[in-house]
Amino acid sequence: MTMTLVFGGLILLLLTGMPIFAALGLAATAILLIFEGGIGSVADTIFAHLNKSILMAIPLFVFMAQVMMRAKVIDDLYDMAHTVVGHIRGGLGVATVLSCTIFAAISGSSVATALSIGSSAIPQMKRFGYPERGALGVIAAGGTLGILIPPSGPMILYAIVSEVSIGALFLAGIAPGLLMALIFSIYCLADARRNRLTETPDWAGWRKVATAFRRSFWAVMAPPVVMGGIYLGVFTATEAAAAGSLYALLVATLVYRNFGLRDLWICAWSSMRTSMMVFMIIAAAAMFGHAITIIRLPYGVTEAVAAMGLGPFSFILIVMAMIFVMGMFFESISIILITTPILLPTMIALDIDLVWYGVLLMINLELAMITPPVGMNLFVIKGITDAPLSEVVRGAAPYVILMVGGLALLLAAPGLATWLPRSAGFG
């Protein structure tokens, strides 16, 4: 009953067209006033959730993208992509999925991935005549790979709560992550072919490809610099965002030589504006999460599922369905912290591989980011493009189905996740 009221109320507030942060915040305030008689905890909750240096990576990655865009470094990169794959229908979509995959190997966050790739790629995809809805969808979905392909913030959180190996979980995410990227790519190709939407020029020839490569050298070098820094142990994830921004600034001022102090301010200003709207939703989602946690709303459901006395496979199936529904409303951190401790004893009793479950959970959390009404990546894409949210939701819808398919595949073949960590010697 309470559950229907809370979620029904939230949906109604969201549909009035008020900013999403206000809807989440008001729903939280109402719950706290009714059940707790006061909103004293709101400020502390917001402060606690935003006071994290790791989150500084979000505005910094956006800043990096802004600098590369303003200095036209990105243009060269997309010219190159267009020269190489432009003659293939949907090739640009595949190139974007590839960018998301590479960025996912740098960043541990899906929001950072969607924000950075989206803000630079969407205008470019439009420039080359890629259909808008397709562009919105592929980046909303491609961005979610950020938490499935290591490093991954949510994986670390799940690993700490469930005490599984972080290393094993990271390894386990690689194959499913690449598989999802492959599925997305195939879909891009099939969809473009089916709709005959893109004009396809002829193959540009090796000489043009070589020229395009030379021109895009500095843009192409950005991921290896940042990734190399992370994997060789030079920077942490947040430092990588700063290092990437520094690299972009150096390329813009020293190589492209079209970047002054005024450009610096404009880029910083727009990354401020872009990240603020995301952070306000993060803050309000934290309030909402706190409010429903303190009244133990999700606990009842999770405990009921844990107590159903099911076999391993049907148990996982019900849990996945439950998390899918939760994912429509909550952000990933709350879902991990609320469900994992309650489900853990049952999973251990049923002898369910916790690494496998962790990867299933991650894919489900990826889904949560692109399912309405509350989906962070949907909001991010809507925020950077000004497209109607309904358009973003429609663009992402096919990917919801593809990801559910990926989830089913991994349910049927756990080896996809567990093979790599096992062969690397993890239990």
């Binding site: 790791i54 190996s165 972080i166 994997y231 142990g233 920077f235 942490t236 609320i338 401790p341 853990l344």
Partner: protein, 304 residues
């Protein structure tokens, strides 16, 4: 029925998180169901840094904090992290009924929280590293190590190590890639947090003592019946003992579990510990600062 929501920061499988659950069940049982204890672990309700204020303010009724969380807010809570000062387990076995504990509880109440349980968590830490043991003071020279709290880091700096601060969630990745060379952690946590996957040399040493303690909002406590207060008192005595047992068990099992993972483990000898203490202790004392309160507490601990 009084609902008592308790927040803490430990993951559910941590040996002390299990003691918290056991304590919660005991409180419910001893109070004949008068108190309904709802435990929210792993920072799921209130963050580790916000627990103290949340309880003092009355947002929630109860929380558990590690002594580190008190910092300058109530510095004497951190006396136990003085390098090698609290290695004797008998101190902890009798802690809950000691004058020292009573003294701290008085200070906590003055500050604004009513302490209801002490849970000794560890006096066994590990220095983790790759390639070589961190054993003698010289081994620490130039090593980048993830620090703990400023006063303890002063001791590490005196050894010649460079301390690096980063959020707990980034430590694993930082050790894996080499952003930091070494770590210091509770020996059981070295197992549960999988440090053995990314480090291969572990020195087990009683360098610092840490405890978790549970406290209530004073107004909430005052509103409880005598029966409920007596139940809390009884649960406090029991849980104090359970925590020592659980910690001894976890610390005893951990070195072998680490060895089973194929890493090198060395249990530091008394002489090795003394050598580290000689360098770390003066630096710690200077950074910690003397206070009458700390002196009084140490004197009371001496009586144990």
């Amino acid at each position: 029925v009084e609902t008592m929501r308790c927040s803490h920061q430990l993951p559910p499988a941590h040996h002390i998180a299990k003691v918290v659950d056991r304590w919660a069940a005991a409180v419910e049982e001893y109070s004949d169901g008068e108190i309904d204890v709802q435990v929210f672990g792993a920072d799921s309700l209130v963050g580790a840094r916000e627990n103290i204020v949340a309880v003092a303010k009355g947002d929630i009724e109860c929380a558990f904090s590690l002594n580190f969380q008190w910092g300058k807010t109530l510095p004497i809570m951190n006396v136990t992290i003085a390098p090698y000062a609290f290695a004797d387990l008998d101190i902890w076995r009798h802690w809950h009924e000691s004058e020292a504990a009573a003294y701290l509880e008085e200070k906590l109440l003055e500050k604004g929280v009513k302490n209801v349980v002490w849970m000794f968590q560890t006096n066994t830490s590990v220095f983790t590293s790759n390639g070589d043991f961190l054993l003698a003071p010289d081994d620490f020279k130039g090593v980048k190590i993830r620090g703990l709290v400023p006063s303890f880091d002063a001791g590490l700096a005196a050894l010649g190590a460079t301390t690096v601060t980063m959020p707990g969630s980034e430590v694993y990745q930082a050790l894996a890639t080499g952003v930091v060379d070494a770590g210091i952690t509770d020996v059981a946590a070295a197992v549960s947090r999988k440090y053995f996957e990314v480090q291969d040399h572990f020195v087990v040493t009683p360098v610092l003592s840490a405890y978790l303690h549970g406290y209530l909002n004073p107004a909430f406590y005052d509103g409880l019946s005598d029966n409920a207060k007596a139940a809390l008192e009884k649960a406090k005595a029991d849980a104090g003992v359970w925590a020592v047992e659980a910690s001894i068990e976890a610390a005893a099992a951990a070195p072998d579990e680490l060895r089973a993972k194929g890493v090198e483990v060395h249990i530091a000898t008394d002489a090795e510990n003394a050598a580290l203490e000689a360098v770390m202790r003066p630096a710690f004392d200077e950074a910690f600062g003397d206070s009458e309160e700390a002196a009084k507490l140490i004197e009371l601990v001496g009586k144990l």
